[in-house]
Every structure is written in structure tokens, then in C-alpha cells.
């Protein structure tokens, strides 16, 4: 499998903390296999019931997850920044087309793993 970094995420990560939307851009990793794409997303402070996925196109996966509690910059040690966060959000470009109707996901130890079958 080949690991692919999303260029969109790289740009987004220049901040990664969207104060206006109270959203955090999570770390993620994409592995492209022969038959499927496996995407993992690191989601600390998230309950699996709060994870929502949607594919607006067959090469984009959008993830949204509310956090179990409000997180502030202050508690993360950044006193000079103001802002609080209540969710994660990412719009992830998948490098190959996938079948968005057959998404399989599971959540373990705060990491979401999504299996997306490749379109032939």
C-alpha cells in the first residue's frame, strides 16, 4: 500500500484550528491499495456515535465529529490565543475514485478507520 498525503490537508494544516467554525482539522492518513482505500483519522475526545461521514463526490470524503466536551486553547497551553472547539471537520481528497455507497468504518482507541472500495 502507498501512503498519500492530501495536499488540501497540508495547506489547511498551516493553521488546523478554525476558531470561527470552532472546528479542528484532524490528522489523517490515506493508504491506497489495489482494491480499496483505507483512511484513518485521529479523533481524540470523540465518541464513535458522534462521527458523521459523507461523500459529496466519489473522490472526496467529508468527516465531521463533535467532541465529547468543549476544548479551549487555554487548556492546551496557548494562553495568547483565544478560541474554543467543539468539533472536528475535514474534507479529504481521495487520490482515486471510490464507491461511496459501500463505505465501511470502525472506531477504536480514538482512531476512525474507513475502508472505501475502489471503483473499477
Amino acid at each position: 500500500m502507498e501512503s498519500v498525503a492530501s495536499p488540501e490537508t497540508s495547506l489547511y494544516h498551516s493553521s488546523g484550528w478554525n476558531v470561527a467554525a470552532a472546528c479542528i482539522e484532524p490528522l489523517h492518513n490515506i493508504m491506497v491499495g489495489a482494491t480499496e482505500v483505507v483512511l484513518t483519522i485521529d479523533l481524540p475526545y470523540v465518541d464513535q456515535k458522534q462521527v458523521k461521514l459523507r461523500c459529496p463526490a466519489n473522490d472526496i470524503l467529508e468527516v465531521y465529529a463533535e467532541t465529547t466536551r468543549k476544548i479551549t486553547f487555554k487548556e492546551l497551553g496557548a494562553k495568547h490565543r483565544h478560541g474554543e472547539f467543539t468539533c472536528y471537520h475535514a474534507r479529504i481528497q481521495i487520490p482515486v475514485p471510490v464507491d461511496e455507497t459501500r463505505i465501511n468504518k470502525h472506531f477504536k482507541r480514538g482512531v476512525l478507520e474507513v475502508h472505501l472500495p475502489r471503483l473499477r
Binding site: 494544516h13 488546523g16 484513518t40 485521529d42 475526545y45 492546551l76 497551553g77
Partner: protein
């Protein structure tokens, strides 16, 4: 038939030699400038164990070494400076500090970096650290890192592997880690281990199963448990586990910067099968 003597070639050779001399002089100047200056602000313990917690896979080493520093209340004793590091400082307690610092106490010297170190600086960093370790008669260089595994979510207790600079160190492991016999190590820890082997400085690199690009406090705790067994310490890792979610979120940006450097150094080479001939 003999070729006519080529005078223009001689001229070119002279020019080449002049240029070569210039290049050698320049490379000497550059090598002095390219390396790290190790600034000692307090006496460094001799014959100590040097622990390296530099940013790498899963930030395992950095998280583990930071936990050692806070648990044992080690004092800051110096820093590493380089003109080629990103132009930044970190503020701690309102005081500007170098992002690459040295802590010491209880016969330990701990080196951590709070910034991702550019790939081009890893070799000079390894060389300068080993030279400095030698000058302090360091008993053991113990480097803490991660070993990325694809199925990390399914692993309850991450396993610890060890790469050692000399065979006799196997007994020092005290069953804490399985020795790696074949394979590749990409990054500063590989360079450190090799340089230590060349300089006859005993060195162990602990590589703990971890996430590749997510901060992994559970792997850091497993690494620390191995350190406890090897050095006969009793550092409590429960705080590291209890604050796991907070640590993952606080380290997110650091992990992202580190991931960019991991990609540049071809870290995925570590997944390759070992070379055919030993």
C-alpha cells in the same frame, strides 16, 4: 596513433585544482558552520546515560523523554544551537529557550527537540551528539523512537524492539525488547546508532510499535516501561496514559511538522524487506 598533447586540458586541470582548493576551503568553513554548537549552562554529569527524545514516528521518543524530564524533575543544563535550524525559539515560563535542549540529573542526560529537525541537519546532529557523548564519557546512548505499524489500533500492548551498537549490549536489555537483527532504520536514530558503533560508544535504540503520524502516548508508555527495565528505574507512566487524549491533541501540530520531515527522509524505507546479503 598517439593523440596530440592537449594544452587546453592542462589549463583546465589547473583551473579545476584551483577550484577544488577553493571548494575544500569552503566545505571546511561550511562544516564548521553547519554543525551544532552544544551550549552547556550547567555542569554535565560524566559517565551518565544519555537519552534522546527527538521527533520521529508517533512522537514516541519526544513524549517519553518529556515524561522522564517531568517525572524525575531533571534540570535544564544546556541547549543545541545551529544557524540552520528554523529561526524560532520556544517560551517556557516566559523565558525564551532553544527548541533543542538538554536536561540532566540522577545520572541521566536527556536531549529533546520541540521542533521537527530538518533532514539536512540530521547527520551533523548525530555526529555532534556522539562526539559530545564521548567527551562526557557517556556510558550508554539510549535513543527512543517509534516503529510504525499499519494495524496499530488493534494492538493492546505495543511491542518494543531494540537495535544495538554492539552484541554485548543484548544482555543489558534485560528482556525489555527484542533485538532487531536485520532491516533498515531511517532518520536520526539510525545515524546515531551507526556513529556510536564507529566511535565505540555503547548505544541502544528502542523502537516501539506506534502510529506513523498520530502522537502515540501509549507507545511512549511502553517505551518508558522498557527504559525502566533496562536502567532499573521506576518511572510511573500512569499520568502519560491518563492524559492520553490531551497529549494527542496538544502534540497534533508538532506531529504534523514532523510528518513533513519524515516524508522527506523516505521513512517508508523502513517497511522494506531486509537486504539480501548480511
Amino acid at each position: 596513433m598517439c593523440e596530440p598533447f592537449n594544452y587546453s586540458l592542462i589549463l583546465h586541470e589547473h583551473q579545476f585544482l584551483d577550484q577544488l582548493e577553493g571548494c575544500v576551503a569552503m566545505s571546511k568553513r561550511l562544516s564548521e558552520k553547519d554543525g551544532f554548537r552544544i551550549v552547556e549552562t550547567s555542569p554535565i554529569p560524566k559517565k551518565a546515560v544519555m537519552i534522546n527524545g527527538l521527533p520521529d514516528v508517533g512522537l514516541v521518543g519526544l513524549l517519553a523523554a518529556s515524561h522522564i524530564i517531568s517525572s524525575l524533575k531533571l534540570a535544564e543544563v544546556g541547549s543545541l544551537e545551529s544557524d540552520l535550524l528554523p529561526p524560532m525559539i520556544v517560551l517556557h515560563g516566559g523565558i525564551p529557550k532553544s527548541p533543542v535542549r538538554i536536561f540532566a540529573g540522577k545520572s541521566l542526560v536527556v536531549v529533546i527537540s520541540e521542533t521537527a529537525i530538518p533532514v539536512s541537519l540530521l547527520r551533523p546532529l548525530a555526529n555532534d551528539l556522539v562526539e559530545w557523548a564521548q567527551s562526557n564519557s557517556t556510558e550508554l546512548v539510549l535513543s527512543l523512537g517509534g516503529m510504525a505499524v499499519a494495524n496499530r489500533q488493534d494492538i493492546d500492548a505495543p511491542k518494543v524492539f531494540a537495535a544495538i551498537s554492539e552484541k554485548k549490549l543484548e544482555s543489558k536489555l534485560n528482556g525489555a525488547a527484542e533485538v532487531l537483527e536485520e532491516g533498515y532504520i531511517v532518520g536520526v536514530y539510525g545515524l546515531l546508532l551507526r556513529r556510536c558503533a564507529e566511535a565505540s560508544v555503547p548505544a541502544i535504540t528502542l523502537l516501539t510499535q506506534s502510529y506513523y503520524n498520530y502522537p502515540d502516548p501509549v507507545a511512549a508508555a511502553a517505551s518508558l516501561n522498557a527504559v525502566n527495565r533496562i536502567l532499573g528505574l521506576s518511572i510511573d507512566v500512569s499520568e502519560l496514559l491518563r492524559r492520553g487524549e490531551e497529549i494527542r491533541l496538544r502534540s497534533k501540530d508538532m506531529m504534523h511538522r514532523t510528518q513533513e520531515e519524515l516524508a522527506k527522509m523516505n521513512k517508508s524505507h523502513e517497511y522494506d524487506l531486509p537486504p539480501l546479503y548480511g
